[in-house]
Symmetry: C2
């Protein structure tokens, strides 16, 4: 504590804040323990206590403390603030505050601000059919669940971008601070523009312990911790102690100091002053874990240790001494002073809460759908490539998309950002830099390429930060696109999980308004890692995604530039989904004109008649494909079959929307069985060339008729630094193998087919030998396009 | 640069080091560009250049610089050192050094240390059929691929644990340093014991750029960066510049200083001095990206910018001026001074390399299987629980396992560690603390629970660190077990990917010796998140794992304590696998005696005759199960069927080894079709109660006969904070639903069955109402065990 701080508040005001804090603490403990007798109007008896005691006390008192103090600052300074509760286990604390502020009762009238409502508030917590124990979507004002730790600070920065009048107070637990994602988040301040963006106030709450251990940041020398925060570019303010009255004074004074500092930074930046990265304030708040809870149990200390992490007194119903300790604990807050005769918060408390949308639990920013405005989307059709005949021209699909994305950025300067781990240019979306920079608040040197504080492209070498910033940005009512190398998007598998769970849950909460979808563009995909090899080859994110609720996940594999444009336009208009789009960045054939592409994407899959030879009749074999590289191999295989087995009726089906393969009982996009059967037949061999792991197609189609005739080729985890055609050969996805697959599965093809089979094997060998000899693919395969014969 | 540093070396010695560096740089450039004319004995012509130019130059010169200087230190000081190349893209640099040291030629005699060998070294790099572009497993001395960035420093610490005589020089790229996992790694020094463990020397190489952007750590004020490193507990040494002669002098002097410091720290700790966390030295090395490469191209700077990231001159074969620039570049290293008439490294260079296993490329630590010694494993049978009849007693499976793990720790004080993200006690492996502490080098306070510098339990709230440390520990020839909450193991999905790829690749490298398997124990699983709810419910890691090569992945779901013991004993004896074991920590029935458990685990799956009513005959229905909770529900369903439909022939099959379900053509553990059919029948309904997402079972069995009769129940992403039985009901995995599934699928059951169906529906409703009313499960289901009737 800096004893030179001014005492900003009268003792009376401090007592008021303390009362508010005690009320929130009381309501927190009540939720964890009480079934009945919420105001302790009678002595506490075992039957007043829940039979199962669930929840987390340890982090709650500090969350409540910060909440009460921020309320004062909001009221006095007129701030717009969102409270980010990193210690997500503090659900009961957050709920306590929403009830005190009245927001909870507004959303749930039965949980009224009176004794009966308080009883319901207590009973429903962590109770079957009630509310979960975290700062979950059910908690008004929360945009951060915190069940999986590490994302509080990146969510806070994401919420602050393009919200100049918003301040995010972000409480970070010292447990959470040990995680990688959180450790990387501190330097997010490099990407925040004080003129255009809001402010983030990190409050690192050192309570010293996690589940069963002390925390690293509490046990290294305090001087090192402050040095670290200084190194991250912050001005750290230490508030430390275990005496409430003292902490109230120092925290209040410190908050006044830091909000003044934030205001000064913003004022300077916004009045044409420096745009150099300012040294933002942050607070290190060192208070005991489970503060104001039971001092000890069975001779062991509880308050101030990891023993207060969950439920400090675990046997209250059976142990009279624990019951008495609980009653003492609850009464230590003096509920009789805090709630009036009806059970409502006392008038002294009610006046302390901010009004209306100034209440952190009622901030529209924390229910971002309320603020969501549609994107202004330029007509994607204008960006298409001309296609006079299938495969007549080539394009780099993501480069074509980049021009549209550029204009989306330009048309939406306040509500759309592009996120990528240093891969925006590599993924060929570089057109964006014709209209904007990469956001950058650190030193800029001559020759730097499109860096600037106003940049709308967010590039940092951390998929975690890209994902977390974007989540925070979306949850506060904006839009975005995350482009990544396909293989490394697995870095955020678990973050995707949590976001998908958030979406699923909010679909069931009437007062939560829909937000924009989280859009992934995965490029530099498994089939084209010429520079990088095996470590960069993994198409499994799709497999991961489809485990989540069908209502919130969509997967698209547009085969060319025009279908990519149509798909991405659809994704940017959608709400409450996670859209995964996989597309190549290398020159590849354009198959469909824009009109054809739109129709194809609307259907999600369909027969490519120009590549087929069944002419509307029942085919002998279906060649299905999904993904740009498999589509090329499939078209080439169909061409080989047409030339060599002209009487064979081949149908080519291309799949853009992968979820169409599932039955309509499993996914909203699922194709009804009759339509599926009409496309794929029920009894003919289907050779499916797939972008990813082949079994995913089986998992999506195992209920379909004729599944036993389905043969899937895809990535089977074979790869290295090699040529594109060598990669498909390594995984038996090449055109020659597809032809062999047809020959092996269609009966009665006769002698011609046996010869063709041999020819295909020879072609594979010739291609491999050429590649080994010259280090490049045989031009006959590398340069092949429809209409050209394949000559090896 | 600190100009007060002593100049430790003569100018002649510095010139020697410079020559070594130039040789490595020459060999690096040669690999990227040259097909032929390796020594430039004739003027460079287009046909000497590779048709596809692949690889990464930018990071290579600094990797080579550090390598050359470390060689001097190794030789002069007799150090045992491993080189961790965080910038994994520097594959050609690492290969250059292994060739200079002779190691590469020892493993690959055709790539000899002469002109012909040099030509092969050049040609094979990033060439089809050759070697990949990273510091991949193919590179002697590498235990870190670095394709996916972020793990260098955690691998280094993992390698240092229990290796007191080893120093790991860990070069960290400033791009990599932006990732979360790397950011969290710095504080690994809290867990390193200078007395018992080796040393890690982090060398943060600021070259200023990543793929297309400057790096954050280079562009924040240098003072902030040093403050950050100080905050992490290091003593940072800055070496900065772009003049080779100056850098040689300062780097040499700095290395002498830091190795002296390391030596002093270790000496003090090992001579009974302080065990407090020392301030280890680290180096910030600021050198230009692509140093010594082309200065510029087409008027734009290349050296010292992101443009040197991959191949600085990209059109050498077609552009004579670029060809000339490449020749100038290569000749600038003066190859004629560096290689003798045969093409071998000049004598002056050869004497500089350390000898034998002192060569970093030949360190046995970097081929850990060479050093691997079997664990001393106490007989797990002695730790089993007594089971007089199935379900006659309860146990917490992981707690039972904990006693065995305790004794594994005690019996292997130098080669086994237990890793967990603050969840070892929560996952009920707390018995470990009877024999050891949690490793902890920071401040210890009275009342702390088993913390100490010698602890063999590694707890930090970062799954990334647990995984990375363990990988480093395994790759250097030791053993370990990682225990985590099931849901959050997804945090390391991508790290698992990279490790599985490493294992798959090393299986094909003769000189790489097998290492111990990476063992996961996932507990606190999806079905028992009573405190935590939806965010903690995700059983999908198994789905992720089975995408990797069958030869390296194994998945086990032991249904009780004795099977868990048997399974884990098997896993700790295995090599070159990733073993995933999912087991509960809550009290649950013991089904099998130890002898039965061993036999059941050996088979991997089998009929539980005591729970079945088919008595060796063809059953009417098969109830299959995998996982502890589904097994309980299945046994209970079978019991209900026995009581209510006594004539129905029910077979109960339990699956421990999930890979047994796949055909033997797909996985080495796969069951031959005949055996599968004998267990599951080919035409009877199979109701499969599965621990995870139900479609995984379909994906494993879609090729099996009778797959159309398979009906799987599992987790379908429904959950919240609720009771255990409510959880299974939410996902239709409960005993009552399983009975209904049987009734709906077995024909001809008659009127009795219709009544039973209604009864089951009523039971579900009664259970739900009881839970909603009282907050706990109905005792009739919660307390049910075989032999007791189910009375609601």
């Amino acid at each position: 504590m800096d004893k030179t701080l001014p005492a900003p508040l009268t003792e009376a005001r401090l007592r008021q804040i303390d009362a508010y804090w005690r009320a929130a603490n009381y309501l927190t403990v009540g939720q964890i323990y009480l079934l009945d007798n919420p105001l302790l109007r009678e002595p506490l008896r075992p039957e007043h206590v829940k039979p199962r005691l669930l929840g987390h006390w340890g982090t709650s008192p500090a969350l409540n403390l910060v909440y009460a103090h921020l309320n004062r600052c909001i009221t006095e300074k007129g701030l717009d603030m969102v409270y980010m509760a990193g210690p997500g286990h503090g659900g009961p604390a957050m709920l306590a505050n929403t009830w005190l502020e009245g927001t909870y009762s507004e959303h749930h009238p039965s949980v009224s601000r009176d004794e009966a409502g308080m009883a319901r508030l207590f009973r429903q917590f962590s109770f079957p059919g009630g509310v979960p124990s975290h700062a979950a979507p059910e908690v008004p004002g929360s945009i951060h669940e915190g069940g999986e730790l590490g994302y509080a600070l990146m969510h806070a920065y994401g919420a602050a971008f393009d919200n100049p009048d918003l301040t995010i107070a972000c409480v970070i637990g010292d447990g959470e601070a040990e995680t990688g994602p959180l450790a990387a988040s501190w330097l997010s301040n490099v990407f925040l523009n004080p003129a255009r963006d809001g402010a983030v106030l990190p409050i690192l709450n050192l309570n010293g312990y996690k589940i069963a251990n002390p925390t690293v940041l509490d046990r290294i020398p305090r001087e090192d911790l402050l040095s670290m925060m200084h190194g991250f570019g912050y001005e750290p303010h230490l508030v430390e102690g275990d005496d409430p009255a003292t902490i109230h004074r120092t925290l209040a004074a410190t908050l006044d100091t830091v909000f003044d500092r934030i205001s000064a930074i913003q004022h300077e930046a916004r009045s044409g002053g420096t745009v150099e990265r300012p040294r933002w304030p942050m607070i290190v708040l060192r208070t005991p874990k489970g503060w104001t809870g039971p001092r000890e149990l069975d001779g062991k200390p509880v308050e101030g240790t990891w023993r207060s992490h969950q439920v400090p007194l675990g046997a209250v119903r059976d142990d009279p001494s624990q019951l008495a300790a609980l009653e003492d604990w609850l009464r230590s807050y003096h509920p009789e002073e805090l709630f009036d005769a009806t059970g409502a918060p006392a008038a002294e408390l009610r006046v302390q809460a901010p009004r209306g949308e100034k209440r952190m639990s009622a901030s529209p920013h924390a229910n971002g759908g309320l603020l969501l405005r549609d994107l202004v989307l330029p007509d994607f059709r204008r960006y298409g490539v001309a296609v006079d005949r299938p495969g007549g021209t080539d394009a780099e699909a993501t480069r074509v998309l980049g021009e549209w994305v550029r204009d989306v950025i330009a048309a939406n300067p306040d509500r759309f950002r592009l996120f990528g781990p240093d891969e925006v240019a590599s993924n060929r979306l570089g057109a964006a830099f014709e209209v904007t920079d990469r956001a950058w608040g650190a030193r800029i040197e001559p020759g730097d390429d499109h860096l600037g504080p106003d940049g709308r492209v967010m590039e940092v070498l951390s998929e975690h930060l890209c994902q977390g910033w974007l989540e925070g940005y979306l949850l506060t009512g904006r839009h975005g696109l995350f482009t990544s190398y396909e293989a490394f998007i697995h870095l955020v598998d678990s973050m995707f999980n949590q976001h998908a769970k958030w979406l699923k849950t909010t679909n069931g909460i009437p007062w939560r308004r829909p937000i924009a979808s989280l859009n992934y563009l995965l490029s530099s995909h498994v089939w084209r890692q010429d520079h990088n090899g095996f470590s960069h080859q993994d198409p499994g994110f799709i497999d991961h995604v489809v485990n989540k609720k069908a209502e919130v996940v969509r997967v698209y594999l547009p085969p060319d530039a025009n279908t990519l444009l149509s798909t991405m336009d659809h994704c940017l208009r959608s709400r409450q989904y996670v859209n995964v789009v996989v597309a190549g960045k290398q020159p590849a054939p354009n198959w469909l004109s824009m009109d054809e592409a739109v129709r194809h994407c609307e259907r999600g899959l369909g027969i490519w008649e120009w590549a087929s030879t069944d002419r509307g009749r029942e085919p002998d074999v279906v060649l299905a494909c999904a993904g740009d590289v498999p589509t090329l191999e499939t078209v080439a295989a169909a061409d080989l079959l047409r030339r060599h087995l002209p009487h064979l009726k081949v149908r080519v089906v291309n799949v853009v929307d992968l979820m169409r393969l599932q039955p309509d009982t499993e996914h909203p996009h699922g194709l009804p069985d009759r339509q599926y059967d009409a496309l794929f037949t029920t009894d003919k061999p289907v050779i499916f060339a797939f972008h990813g792991y082949p079994w995913l197609i089986h998992r999506l189609t195992y209920r379909r008729a004729g599944h036993e005739h389905l043969h899937v080729r895809g990535y089977k985890e074979e790869g290295t630094t090699t040529t594109p055609f060598d990669m498909v050969m390594l995984n038996d996805l090449d055109r020659f193998t597809l032809v062999i697959d047809v020959i092996d599965r269609v009966p009665g093809l006769g002698q011609n087919a046996a010869g063709l089979r041999q020819e295909m094997s020879d072609a594979r060998r010739a291609c491999r030998e050429h590649t080994r000899a010259f280090g490049v693919d045989h031009p006959a395969v590398a340069d092949w396009r429809p209409g050209r014969p394949l000559e090896l």
